[in-house]
Amino acid sequence: MLLHESLKSSAYKYPHKVAVVYQKERLNYSEVDKLSDALAFKLLDKGIRNGDRVALLLENSTDYIVAFFGILKAGAVAVPLNTQLVSRELAYLLNDCSPRFVITDSAHQSILKGLIDPIYVLLTDKGDCPRFAPSSQGHWDAGALGTGAPEANSLAMIIYTSGTTGKPKGVMLSHKNLSANAHSIIEYLHLKTTDSIMVILPFYYSYGTSLLTTHIMAGATLVIDNRFIYPNVVLDTMEKEKVTGFAGVPSHYAILLRKSALRKYKLINLRYVTQAGGAMAPSMIKEFLEILPHLKFYVMYGQTEASARLTYLNPVFLPDKFGSIGKVIPDVEIDILNEQGESAKTGEIGEIVARGANIMLGYWNATEETSKVLRKEGLFTGDLARIDDDGFIYLVARKKEMIKSGANRISPFEIEEVVCGMRGVVECAAVGIPDEILGEAIKLCVVKDGVNFTENDLLLYCKRNLAAYKMPKVVEFVASLPKTSTGKIKRSLLTVGSVPAGD
């Protein structure tokens, strides 16, 4: 199935059902379908061809959704880009995926200056993308695309994730990958047309994309609010729009529990919440459920490389299995393989390896990286886990040394590469340190040479070269970095206490 056919199908079955709520705007399925048709025609008029990449640099909005499906309908590949990135970071991604067009708005246009020829930039708020003026060419149909229309295995999206090498990797997901995973998620969350989800997670991450694909496929409603900085505003939206679902990473739940008026809200329409993006303390889940006992709390686990989801914990088992990521989702298979490549015994630690229609095609422009994780046994996730007597899976550790801060995965190597480019820095190491709200905050240990610079100089340099969420919260100047005999930095030593100070 092609992913945009799910929109067509929902528009056919529920044309007047509200698909998206954003600020004062409410678009029904028929409108989203027609607007994205019109955009697809616009792209075809501009000469887009099957497999061309179209980058999306937009906050979550109705425009994002229209653009996303318009790109797919034109047979092109949607590449959502993180709107928090600075110019240097965007330049790398644009160079890597070489998009035919970038769809953005006036607010984000300036950052593209010098990175891409302006004639390839389409502005949603300046009439470049049709708004309520559906194309005279009428409805999109496969015939209009001529030959070479996309197939189920065709590339639909590239989602960038932080790579272990410090360079982001483009995860290639096909129509089939995304559709199959959306089906599985709809099944275990029991999503129906009557459901509506509070969307605070950005669509440019896999978790956000999965909210989009599942709800459009289910004929349900997406309620977008990008103001989670002020959680009470989002809680008001949840009450007002009577949402039935909420999705967040642990830091979102920490903020709701510690820094919002959650206890004053009843949220009687809220049926369930989902949590992914790292381990959440069982005590926090319990506290959340004490405030809202009528909810089903779904703990989930996955990877961008798996189109989003691999396992979930059925809420029925939550009280007995706190700390577990549950069992495999429908239509996916999982093995825990020990170092010998054999299935791990109960209690034995091994790597999670997954197979299914949701597993990515590979990494964009990175055959070698792809062959490291996509092997004959399936997708090697790099996550270590064990299984208990009842078959429930528990994550033990991640093989990759990613820092998990809020909803972001941050490669320490990327920060280190940038900081080492600063004059006067001999070497440095970035590590995650525990943070009550974010899960992890970034600590940067820096070894200076004779050049004198201050912490503020260093932070200014970081600010110019790194997105705000990659900024170190703690900087420590040290005389040297602790290393193993093979010269590898002992990161675990840097996360606790202080190392001998440098000058």
């Binding site: 928090q84 103001r227 989670f228 900085i229 002020y230 959680p231 009470n232 505003v233 830091s251 903020i255 820094k259 919002s260 008026a261 959650l262 004053k264 809020g406 943070d435 709200i437 974010l438 503020n456 932070l459 200014l460 600010k463 705000a468 969420y469």
Partner: protein
């Protein structure tokens, strides 16, 4: 902690600007207007706003209630100045 009742609105605004400049703008506030939205300008994130709250509580000596964590109270230099000034007794 300052005695909020002894501060004028001008004093309060000055302290706020100093804090925003040093904590979020690394000393350069040339592009920030008093009525610019912190959220709209991408100056603060979820944890940044919590730092604004801690600063407000410590500097002006009152507790910001969870229900008061709203853009109309916190989301610009002007909003924050008005919010704090209204706490005078």
């Amino acid at each position: 902690m300052s005695q909020i009742n002894e501060l004028t609105e001008v004093d309060i605004k000055k302290k706020i600007k100093e804090f925003i400049k040093n904590n979020f703008l690394l000393g350069n506030d040339s592009n920030l207007q008093d009525d610019d939205s912190f959220m709209g300008k991408g100056i603060v994130d979820s944890t940044g706003i919590l730092e604004v709250v801690s600063f407000t509580e410590e500097t002006f000596g009152f507790k910001v209630a969870d229900e008061e964590l709203l853009p109309e109270n916190l989301d610009s230099i002007n909003n924050l100045t008005a919010f704090i000034s209204n706490k005078k007794v």
